[in-house]
Amino acid sequence: MRRILCLLAALTLLTMCVSCIGQRQINELALVTAVGIENGDKPGTIKLSVQMIRPADARGQTGSPSGGTGQPIYSAQAEGETIFDAIRELGRFVSRRVYWAHNFLIVMNEDYARRGIADMIDFFTRNHELRMNTWVAVTSDSPAELISTITGLEVVPGQAVDNLFKDNRIAGQAPSSNMMNLEEAFLSRSAEPVLARLELVSRGISNKKPLEHGSIKQVELAGAAAFKGEAMVGWVTPAETRGLLFFTERLESGIEVVGCPNNGNKLSLEFRDAKLKIKPSYRNQQAQFQVALHTNADIVESGCETNLAKICQDVERALEDRLKGKIESLLRKARRQYHSDFLKLGDVFRNKYPEEWRKIGDDWNSVFSEAQVDVAVSAKINSVVLKSVGSVK
């Protein structure tokens, strides 16, 4: 009995010694929601812009009055020789512990990305505190300005970009690139990374001065940045990105506008159930791909003042040409200009020809550049909304 009591007493004393080790109260943390990376002013340094939340102002009044009706975010910049060095630098002036687990967005400056992002990938995947579903993007503007731009609807800008990425499939003009698929493509020999492009565009309209149209800068998600290895090689336009999404994200639907075959007006088509089939083959030391896209489409808006049933076939051809043009221009860019397989055709090839892959895999980007790629698109408008009444004058 005495021994048990001694043991219990010892255990009780022991729990008092731990003093809540490792404890970090949530209100003693500076939650980071977006981080921007660019080259520092001194050569070889890195400048980090961090957007942190001020919870009391980001969430209005919950609980007792906590003062402060200021900004919901606090953005700060720090420079260091490495990313971690810069983060430690933050500790010199940020009064709370900088906490990274809730980070939504990593945005890199174009110059930094062209120099190489291996250190960024390493840091953000090595640290256990960071999430792998953080969005990663490249911008040609200043990342510091981009992350601290308050959007019209969300209180926290990082969250706004998060929502942009989440609803990305509706616009279908930028890849949903997060840390996970960035690292996946970076480590893979058969694919190259491609990241979304963020831009600051004057879009917002001021409520107080509505006449000054587009006076407020807003973050826009459109286009992509292609990489080769760790370094960015160039931009991909939003139109080409539409073609890219068929390859990387199995894009199923989107809007395309084609000209009416009978007059100069426009016709909007929504393509649905798009399916891309890639058939690789290997002949005479040459890789070949047959890319076939099948899609259904609905007419959602028509300016052609005629019975649509009559022009249906022409519209189908026009849509096919349009999609094909986008895919081909993307292929041209990837193969002729960037020599980088960010379409992940290498994955398809490797799965079909693992033996051959061993021989040519090391030099895949040049094989890919020389490979023959045939694109075939077939579209079918089978909607019942081919109404003739009302659209005929």
């Binding site: 729990t15 731990v18 809540c20 080790i21 490792g22 404890q23 970090r24 109260q25 949530i26 209100n27 943390l29 939650l31 929601t33 939340i53 919870p55 009391a56 980001a58 969430r59 209005g60 919950t62 609980g63 007792s64 009055p65 906590s66 906490y99 687990a101 809730h102 939504f104 505190e129 999430r131 926290v156 969250q159």
Partner: protein, 511 residues
């Protein structure tokens, strides 16, 4: 050996004066001990004495005894000399329903102490113990601790005999048995062990009797005394004996092959063996339709987990694992805690204690004041403390939900056990985060897995797994599917085949 006990061991003497002296010395000069002399058939040669306790014995019944002893013999023209044995008096004169001869002083005295009347006649070395128990009882009321919406409203009272009668009225099976025992050297409390002979788990009745017989204690004032003296896991926070005030619960338990232990002077009856899951089950589950029963049983399991774990989960997430909270929620929590000066663990402990304080104060106060306590308490804690920035609104919500959940558990005693288990988990998760939380939770789980209740695993039928018993554990399947008793019962089949009702099938050619 004290003087009293040697006297009690002896048998009655033939001479009445010896017997009177013995009994007087045992019972002493208490005011409620009544001694009434009489003459058998009015014959001065055959004097006799009645002993009874005022207040315990029914005076009308005693009038009847006296009438039989003094007057009836003459009316029947009986010869007083022929009434020479206790048995003769009992069978020829007395018309009380229950009267038995007793030859030991001890039995007679205990009988008097429990409200019976002891009849002694000169020249007969025996006494007659006539059952005259009749004291004021509390009326039958609905048990206030176990309410239900649909189902019988009667509850047990403090009288053991009317309690057993409640069961008899529900189960008219002749194989229903009540075995009597007396426990408590001074209180001599009546204990009845109820079971159905051909259903009860084999050996269970003997085991219960063995454990009850081992009790050596001066007083049993409530069935809680018995519970603590016979339970399997005396050091555990979990109660391995079910207690109830509802006759329908006891009847259902007997029909499942369990044993009920009735203790005199308390409305609370004990049921063994007990599974943990029984504490989550309410009679309503069976009286309402099975959809409703299953749903509310599920709700109660949710309530159980909330009341056990929610404060610990909250403390653990907020103070150690902020990354596990969805970002938007994290922001809201952080903004609520912006001005709170205490660490969340301390905040949780404070609020939990304040809640328990309010509950306890509301319970102990007289009813009108109790309400005032709870109103003031909830105002202070719900409104003022948040406004003053002492606690965060989230913590108030967490504690309130936890409190409400613990009230949703039907068994009051086990909800107390869960409430106690909450604190070690809270401390562990406040000090060590997820690690402490998981360790303490599994320690509790392993402990619950290790204990038994009268030979049955506490967490059965979940572990060890009994397939057919699953129908009445997490869910309450329809009555027509509950055709088996628990796996420990002797006779497992409880209903016929194909009991599922259906509309009559139209026979061919009838339409």
């Amino acid at each position: 050996m004290p003087k009293d006990q040697t006297q009690q061991q002896q048998a009655f003497e033939p001479g009445i004066s010896d017997n009177v002296a013995t009994i007087d010395s045992i019972l002493g000069a208490s005011v409620d001990v009544q001694k009434r002399e009489f003459m058998l058939c009015g014959n001065p040669d055959r004097s006799g004495v009645l002993y009874f306790l005022d207040g315990m014995a029914d005076s009308q019944a005693i009038d009847g005894i006296l009438r039989a002893l003094v007057v009836l013999g003459n009316e029947l023209n009986l010869d007083p000399a022929s009434l020479s044995s206790a048995d003769a008096i009992r069978t020829r004169l007395m018309y009380n329903a229950s009267a038995k001869p007793c030859d030991k002083v001890a039995d007679g005295v205990i009988g008097v102490a429990s409200g019976d009347t002891l009849v002694l006649v000169d020249g007969i070395p025996e006494g007659i113990l006539v059952s005259t128990r009749g004291w004021k009882d509390r009326g039958i009321e609905e048990p206030s601790t176990e309410n239900n919406v649909r189902g019988p409203r009667d509850g047990f009272t403090e009288s053991i005999r009317s309690n057993t009668a409640h069961i008899r009225r529900r189960i008219k099976d002749p194989l229903l048995r009540f075995d009597a025992m007396i426990v408590g050297t001074r209180t001599k409390t009546d204990i009845n062990i109820a079971y159905i002979e051909d259903i009860v788990k084999e050996g269970l009745v003997d085991e219960v009797k063995r454990r009850l017989a081992k009790i050596k204690i001066d007083a049993i004032l409530e069935s809680g005394y018995v519970e603590e003296l016979i339970e399997d896991a005396p050091l555990s926070p979990f109660n391995t004996v079910q207690s109830t005030e509802r006759p329908d619960k006891v009847a259902a338990a007997l029909l499942e092959g369990r044993v009920a232990i009735f203790v005199d002077n308390t409305p609370v009856v004990l049921i063994v063996p007990t599974y943990f899951w029984q504490f989550m089950q309410a009679p309503d589950d069976y009286y309402d339709r099975y959809w409703v029963g299953s749903f509310f049983r599920f709700v109660r399991y949710v309530a159980f987990f909330i009341s056990l774990l929610l404060p610990s989960l909250y403390v653990m997430l907020v103070s150690f694992h902020s990354e596990m909270i969805p970002t938007k929620l994290a922001l809201t929590i952080a903004s609520g805690r912006e001005v709170v000066p205490f660490p969340v663990f301390l905040e949780a402990l404070m609020m939990e204690l304040a809640f328990e304080l309010m509950r306890e104060a509301g319970l102990r106060m007289p009813k009108p004041i109790g309400q005032a306590v709870s109103i003031v308490g909830s105002l202070i804690i719900g409104q003022a403390a948040v406004q003053a920035g002492l606690v965060s609104p989230f913590m108030v919500i967490v504690v309130a939900i936890t409190g409400i959940s613990s009230f949703a558990i039907p068994s009051y005693s086990s909800s107390l056990a869960i409430r106690l288990c909450r604190f070690p988990i809270l401390v562990a998760s406040g000090l060590f985060g997820l690690l402490g939380f998981a360790t303490m939770f599994f320690a509790l789980l392993l402990h619950a897995l290790s204990i038994r209740s009268f030979g049955e695993s506490y967490l059965a039928p979940a572990s060890p797994y009994h397939h057919s018993d699953q129908r009445d554990m997490l869910l309450r399947l329809p009555i027509w599917m509950l055709d088996k008793r628990p796996q420990f019962a002797q006779n497992r089949q409880r209903s016929g085949d194909r009991q599922m009702p259906h509309p009559p099938q139209p026979t061919k050619g009838e339409e």
